[in-house]
């Protein structure tokens, strides 16, 4: 049924397009550009003629014809056209029945005589220099480009579309702002595509994106047409700040609470063991907190870690961590950028209450094969990317650790020498561009972790995902993004202490999904986004299997939790005036439990608006409602390797929540500094908590162990960001509160007697600083500072003897706080020379994590023992200075 709907829409748009074309009555052409003439010859005359898009537009061509272009008249018309094209400074070459129109010299379709006898000519770099000059030519900003047919006679606004790509690798650039000086605005999507309505006539169009050189083009717009742009990575001026319009981008859109970080910024942030880490950088953003080091679970605006939807190329990742959380499971070499939605969550995404984190990998270099090799203290990694033919690119990476090997060197007294810990991950992506309007992207991801601390019990978990994306501009104003795929998280715990009872306990989440999102430009600054999506969940809540032939354990599996989550959504983005914009959407979310047939239909609303008081000062406000049907079942505060998940059913209601937010945004100091203040209030109900002594493992009636709670969170985030100049980075301060309360009255068993209590990730004061200073183009110094209030913990306030052992009497839930957290990291990045003829580019990173060596507590607790009977302890996961060195080779 859904496919029929999509097909009907496609047919409808195709019919509309063809009917518009049938309205033409003239047989020849008049005052058309070379592009248009070539297009006419190919499409109307059936001549196999090809030409690269020529933005230089050497002249206009007129070839009138009073007779229909058929037979001899057609042949004469074509000959006249080629003749005029040649006269206009182009060459026309023929090869194998096809014609190629090239500016300047023609296409040489054969090898010169004696080619194979000639001596090899050493490459003196001249070709590379020539290519570089061509590149400059194609991105030349100080000329006027004509868009559309001069004879179109269009008035008002017309649609200009195109792609923005990286000048070096040819990869699409997402998140680039495209805007004119009169209020028209667009932003490139993950495929680098944009659509903008521009008035007919002269326009100045700006292209700006984070860490990219701003570009400004003069366009003479006659009608609808395409305009592709290549942009270069920003080279920071070392003599002073560079004025950029990039900082103004926030004033163009109504959405708020969106943070985008590109991979080059990620690689500048020092992290433990020097491994560039996507998630660790996300944690440096305001409003994002974590319960401690060695945690890749993060908390956004008072939400729990499982309330974040983490998407890797569209597929959900349920456990994004390696090595107990020390590293994230994303290989930075294949990543393009990450985007975090804290407040204005796009209407196509849902199913998680708190935030959406989109991690996107690069398509791969379309111009040459390149790659990197990295060697660090804990891991080694390699990646390669490049073209596969003219329309296909690939990007693949692998990563592994030698920690398993390293553990053998550890002294036996440490207690870890019998342990083992290892992981691997692999990524692959293939992108194919069928034509300017259609592209297909296929991604695969696999990661696995294994570890054990003793000889008796071993743990392993796996993340796997495969996704397929198809993007099509099926008409000038309409496009579709179709994503489908599969993702899986599975873990297994093996206990082989006793062969007679050796068993393996496994659990996992499987998800099949698709999303089909259409985008239609309704008018100037008015874009409609609509579509549908669905996910099928199959949760293995627990399977026990014997591990040895003599084991008495019998195979047993809990009932799989199955359900279908679907949504229809519609959103309108409307720039009413250059100063006022509105974004309003509705998402009709539905969940059907295949276990007990329960249905949940929940409309969700996404509204945000902005008013630009001046071009450099804006006010925004937004309101979102969300629902979540999948719940993490784990009583630990961290994302753990043995987390199980449970779907909503008649006994476990979906989590539902809303968030209201408002903010002020200013760009200062000649657009070099961004300043923002955002405030929010969030409310969630039916968030799961656990009864005392809950049995979560292999429990068929898990819902009996859970209690619903309501949560409220509010906060203010202040951020100052400088993206350009020798010194760049950001500093932020967040004040926030995150509280929780049981919704049931269970008498004396009610958690904290039914009063509000702080969540485990409530850290009211939070200061973050990420800075990078470039001394020269080759040497830069980075620093990362993190301070936050200690998180709440439940600690013992009393002690008693029971069964011969001192026992602990705990405070009310989260009644105390561990000491405040403070950490300073620093790194020196040394780049090799940037010579054109250099085969490989080397770089070194020297750094120290936790420069002050502070023993930041992860948890505090008491254990029996010590001279006092019980002894207070503090676990500090990375409680000392960690020097590191990383070597990278890029070719």
């Amino acid at each position: 049924m859904r496919f029929r709907f999509v097909a009907t829409l496609l047919i409808l748009f195709l019919v509309l397009g063809s009917s518009r074309a049938q309205g033409r009555q003239d047989y020849g052409v008049s005052n058309v550009s070379a592009d248009s003439l070539v297009s006419f010859l190919r499409n109307r005359c059936g001549v196999p003629v090809y030409a690269p898009r020529d933005t230089s537009d050497k002249g206009l061509f007129s070839i009138p014809s009073r007779e229909p272009l058929e037979g001899a008249r057609l042949k004469a018309f074509v000959e006249e056209a080629f003749s005029k094209i040649k006269a206009g400074g182009y060459s026309v070459s023929e090869y194998d029945g096809r014609y190629f129109v090239m500016p300047g010299l023609g296409l040489n379709t054969g090898l010169p005589a004696g080619y194979f006898l000639a001596e090899e000519v050493a490459d003196d770099g001249s070709m590379l220099k020539y290519a570089g000059q061509q590149n400059v030519e194609t991105t030349f900003q100080n000329k006027i480009y004509e868009i559309g047919d001069r004879n179109s006679g269009r008035k008002g606004r017309v649609l200009v579309s195109g792609y923005v790509r990286d000048a070096v690798s040819g990869e699409p650039l997402a998140g680039v702002s495209v805007y004119d000086d009169k209020g028209a605005y667009a932003i490139t999507d993950s495929y680098g595509a944009y659509k903008i309505m521009l008035p007919v006539g002269s326009n100045t169009v700006n292209f700006s994106g984070y860490s990219l050189d701003d570009m400004k083009f003069s366009l003479q717009v006659f009608g609808e047409g395409g305009f592709d742009v290549t942009m270069k990575e920003k080279v920071f001026a070392l003599t002073g700040a560079v004025v950029t319009s990039e900082s103004q981008n926030r004033h163009k859109v109504s959405q708020m609470g969106i943070e985008r970080v590109r991979i080059n910024a990620i690689k500048n942030v020092p992290v433990a063991f020097g491994e560039a880490d996507v998630l660790k950088v996300v944690m440096t953003l305001p409003g994002v907190k974590t319960v401690g080091e060695a945690s890749n679970g993060f908390n956004v605006r008072g939400g729990s870690a499982d309330q974040n939807l983490i998407l890797f190329n569209g597929a959900t990742v349920y456990n994004p961590s390696h090595m107990f959380g020390i590293l994230s499971s994303f290989n930075s070499d294949v990543i393009n950028d990450v985007e975090l939605y804290k407040s204005s969550i796009p209407v196509e995404y849902g199913g998680h209450i708190s935030s959406v984190l989109e991690v996107r990998s690069r398509d791969g270099n379309s111009k040459k094969v390149s790659g990197t090799l990295g060697l660090g203290l804990l891991t080694s990694r390699a990646h390669i990317e490049g073209p596969l033919g003219s329309k296909t690119t690939f990007n693949a990476g692998v990563r592994t650790t030698y920690s398993d090997y390293l553990l053998r060197f550890i002294p036996k007294e440490s207690g870890y020498s019998d342990g083992a810990a290892t992981f691997q991950d692999a990524n692959i992506g293939i992108s194919h561009r069928f034509n300017a309007s259609n592209s297909l992207h296929v991604y695969g991801y696999l990661s696995g972790d294994r570890f054990r601390f003793s000889g008796d019990t071993a743990y392993q978990y796996t993340n796997a995902a495969a996704s397929l994306k198809w993007r099509s501009n099926f008409s000038d104003k309409h496009s579709v993004n179709f994503t489908a795929g599969w993702s899986k998280f599975a873990y297994a715990v093996s206990d082989f202490f006793n062969p007679a009872t050796a068993y393996s306990l496994s659990s996992g989440v499987g998800q099949y999904f698709f999303r089909s999102t259409f985008s239609s430009v309704l008018g100037a600054g008015n874009t409609l986004t609509y579509g549908l999506g669905s996910s099928y969940y199959d949760l293995d809540r627990g399977t026990v299997s014997p591990l040895s032939p003599e084991s008495i354990v019998e195979q047993r599996a809990l009932t799989h939790d199955k359900g279908v989550e679907s949504a229809l959504y519609l959103n309108d983005t409307w720039n009413i005036t250059p100063a006022i914009a509105l974004d309003a959407g509705i998402r009709l979310s539905h969940y059907y439990s295949l276990n007990d047939g329960s249905n949940f239909l929940d409309p969700e609303y996404r509204v945000s608006g902005k008013v630009s008081i001046t071009p450099n000062f804006s006010w925004k406000a937004g309101f979102n409602t969300m629902h979540q049907y999948i719940h993490k079942i784990s009583n630990s505060i961290n994302i753990s390797p043995t987390d199980t998940w449970k779907m909503s059913d008649s006994r476990l209601k979906p989590q539902s929540g809303w968030q209201a937010a408002t903010g002020l945004y200013a760009t200062l100091a000649g657009n070099t500094v961004e300043f923002s203040v955002e405030g929010y209030y969030k409310y969630v109900d039916n968030f799961v908590d656990y009864k005392s002594g809950a049995i979560l493992e292999m429990n068929e009636n898990l819902s009996d162990e859970l209690v619903p709670t309501e949560c409220r969170a509010y906060g203010v985030e202040v951020m100052l960001r400088k993206n350009v100049g020798k010194l760049n980075g950001w500093v932020s301060y967040t004040y926030s509160s995150s509280m929780q309360k049981e919704m049931l009255d269970r008498g004396f068993e009610t958690i904290n007697a039914g009063d509000w209590y702080p969540t485990s990730y409530d850290k009211p004061h939070d200061v973050k600083l990420v800075g990078n200073y470039k001394f020269t183009h080759r040497f830069s110094l980075s620093a990362n500072l993190d301070y936050s209030t200690g998180r709440p913990v439940t600690i013992p306030v009393g002690v008693y003897q029971l069964a011969g052992v001192p026992r602990l009497l705990y405070s009310n839930r989260n009644g105390y706080r561990i000491p405040d957290y403070f950490r300073l990291d620093m790194a020196m990045i040394i780049e090799g020379g940037h010579y054109l003829k250099q085969v490989a580019h080397l770089s070194w990173t020297f750094g120290v994590y936790n420069v002050t060596g502070r023993h930041n507590p992860y948890s505090v607790f008491y254990t029996p023992g010590g001279p006092m009977g019980i002894q207070g302890k503090m676990l500090s996961v990375l409680g000392t200075q960690i020097p590191y060195v990383n070597f990278n080779l890029k070719f």
């Binding site: 060695a294 107990f324 804990l378 390293l406 060197f409 550890i410 440490s414 006793n498 007679a500 009872t501 026990v544 008495i552 354990v553 019998e554 195979q555 047993r556 009583n635 630990s636 961290n638 656990y690 009864k691 005392s692 002594g693 049995i695 292999m698 008498g747 004396f748 007697a753 485990s760 913990v793 439940t794 013992p796 306030v797 009393g798 008693y800 003897q801 029971l802 011969g804 026992r807 602990l808 009497l809 705990y810 839930r813 023993h855 507590p857 992860y858 948890s859 505090v860 008491y862 254990t863 006092m868 009977g869 002894q871 207070g872 676990l875 500090s876 996961v877 990375l878 000392t880 960690i882």
Partner: protein, 412 residues
């Protein structure tokens, strides 16, 4: 070089430090919580203890909580009495007798088909003012039927670890799904040195022991085994418990020096009891780690009916008990690797004997100088009494009833 550096880093970055998390806690904080321990044992003597929880202070010293009994105790001005009994569903009441540490209730002949509950009535005074009377009752408890223990065994896991394990359900089906195991351990040990003589301070002479005279060299000691384990027989276990590990000792544990015995008591318990003991174990031993569950609130099945919000800790079960015992004999296992460190002896002439005797020393043997051609029997090596008298370690020289093995006897 890189690998060595990384290995060093791996070992050194994660640390657990001693820490007192309650530095800011109000020192006047008082935990007014009673803790009940014991089960109603059908066919046996029921022993119940009632303690109070103690607050954790910055400067706390080790203690085991206040033992609350039928008589006043040394914690003036706070005096608490409990009137404890077991009530039967047919209305009969079996009162308890306080023996100075526990309330003993004769439940040897209770009817297995009836339900029982524990009742404890509090009275007492604080600063001379009578405490408000309170009554604590457990839930009504059916008597859980015993399941026989197939065996209790030990397994030497490696050079350093030895585990005691229990098996059940092989010979006859288990009577339930949830079990609780406790233990009473007894071990034979010696003083570090065998004294051949003793000091008579009346005559300032040293006299040799007679052959059959007890010189406090061999002792036996009993204690509650330091574990409480609960277990669940999973549906997929085939209704059996095989080699369930109860506890481990390492090869330096002096209890294993000669002969060690542990008697395992197995009770069938309810699911609620299982949850209570599981939560208790997690709260005690499984906290503070990276993925540890958050501590949960512990209560149990004892309440103050007049104020159900009052926190009372403890879970009383009513059940029959199965017992089985295992011996671990060092002569067979050669597992124990501990060494006893002795202080240097005091070499004393008779003039100094009395002084050192009153300072806790005892004669060991006539002093022998290395390479000396003769010994002077007036010069003796003296050691601290604890090196020569095993009873000072809390044991007794009386062999326990039913002690099947004896290292001492094997030497005689």
């Amino acid at each position: 070089m890189l690998t060595v550096a990384a290995a060093v880093i791996l070992t050194s970055v994660s640390c657990i430090y001693d820490f007192n998390p309650l530095q800011s806690l109000d020192s006047s904080f008082w935990v007014d919580v009673y803790v009940f321990e014991g089960d109603i044992l059908a066919g046996d003597i029921t022993e119940i203890s009632i303690r109070s929880a103690s607050p954790i202070y910055d400067n706390m010293s080790g203690h085991s909580g206040l033992m609350l009994g039928g008589t006043s105790y040394d914690y003036a001005p706070y005096t608490v009495y409990f009137d404890v009994s077991v009530e039967c569903s047919d209305g009969t009441v079996i009162p308890a007798v306080f023996n100075g540490s526990r309330y003993r209730i004769d439940t040897r002949n209770i009817d297995l088909d009836k339900e029982y509950r524990l009742v404890a009535k509090r009275s007492g005074s604080e600063y001379g003012v009578a405490l408000e009377p309170r009554e604590y009752v457990s839930a009504w408890l059916p008597v859980m039927k015993a399941s026989a223990i197939d065996s209790v065994s030990f397994e030497i896991l490696d050079e350093e670890r030895l585990a005691v394990e229990v098996s059940a359900g092989g010979a006859e089906p288990l009577g339930g799904k949830y079990f609780r195991w406790t233990g009473k351990e007894t071990w034979e040990y010696t003083a570090p040195l065998y004294a051949s003589a003793y000091y008579d301070w009346n005559t300032n002479t040293i006299k040799y022991y007679k052959w059959d005279e007890n010189n406090n060299f061999y002792c036996w000691k009993s204690a509650v085994a330091p574990f409480v384990k609960v277990g669940k027989v999973e549906d997929y276990d085939g209704g059996r418990i095989i080699g369930r590990k109860l506890f481990e000792y390492d090869n330096m544990n002096s209890k294993l020096q000669y002969v060690y015995s542990v008697e395992i008591l197995q009770e069938t318990i309810s699911e609620e009891a299982y949850r209570f003991w599981t939560a208790l174990e997690k709260n005690t031993f499984d906290v503070g780690g990276l993925f540890s569950p958050q501590p949960s609130e512990i209560r149990g099945n004892i309440v103050n009916p007049a104020d159900s919000s009052e926190l009372v800790i403890g879970y009383i079960s009513a059940s029959q008990v199965s017992r089985a015992k295992v011996y671990i004999d060092q002569r067979l296992t050669r597992f124990y690797k501990g060494k006893t460190l002795l202080p240097d002896p005091e070499v004393l002439w008779p003039d100094n004997w009395l002084y050192w005797y009153w300072n806790g020393y005892c004669p060991f043997a006539i002093h022998e100088e290395p390479n000396a051609s003769f010994v002077d029997d007036r010069i003796w090596d003296w050691y601290p009494r604890r090196c020569l008298d095993c009873t000072l370690q809390g044991g007794t020289t009386q062999k326990p009833e039913g002690w099947d093995y004896s290292y001492q006897e094997s030497l005689l």
